[in-house]
Subunit: 99 residues, 2 copies
């Protein structure tokens, strides 16, 4: 199992368009084989900071994910919304303590 | 370096109180030795799902964090807000790919 934390800084005026496109992408991504969890969150301290928190069975599941039509469609919107390059952290855990 | 992903499901009517208490706690936590990143995010698909995404230099830094007065003060608010037990994932990475 892996985690992905993807942080995207968006231009305030694109907020509604970004959320709409992300919501459509989330719906399809959650159907993908290998996806465990996939959701988008808005920082409460900086409303232009949008963070995907994802879990996948393994890193291989990311390959078809990135090629999926719903991700390409979302990508076409994202490029218009970003105010800075995204930071995507793909985390392979050695250990996860769940409390 | 470790990550903490803490997911808290809150009662809708406590949203404002929870955000206010969390914001105060975030301000102080970011000053703590060993903290790298600490922020609270609201899911865009479920507004009662609140997710802390944190980075710490090591797991030891969590000990004084949990004992800190600002965390205790936040905890006293959280217990009134939760609609389900929180899920706290402490992730020790084997590997992190940053893109």
């Amino acid at each position: 199992m892996i985690y992905v934390v993807a942080t995207l800084m968006i231009k305030p005026e694109t907020h509604a368009e970004f959320i709409a496109a992300a919501t459509a992408c989330i719906k399809e991504t959650r159907k993908e084989p290998g996806n465990i969890a996939y959701d988008l969150h808005e920082s409460v301290t900086d409303h232009s900071k949008m963070v995907f928190v994802e879990q996948w069975e393994n890193a291989e599941a990311l390959v078809p994910h990135r090629a999926a039509e719903h991700m390409k469609a979302f990508g076409r919107v994202v490029v218009k919304c970003l105010s800075a390059p995204p930071k995507i952290e793909v985390i392979t855990p050695e250990k996860v303590d769940v409390r």
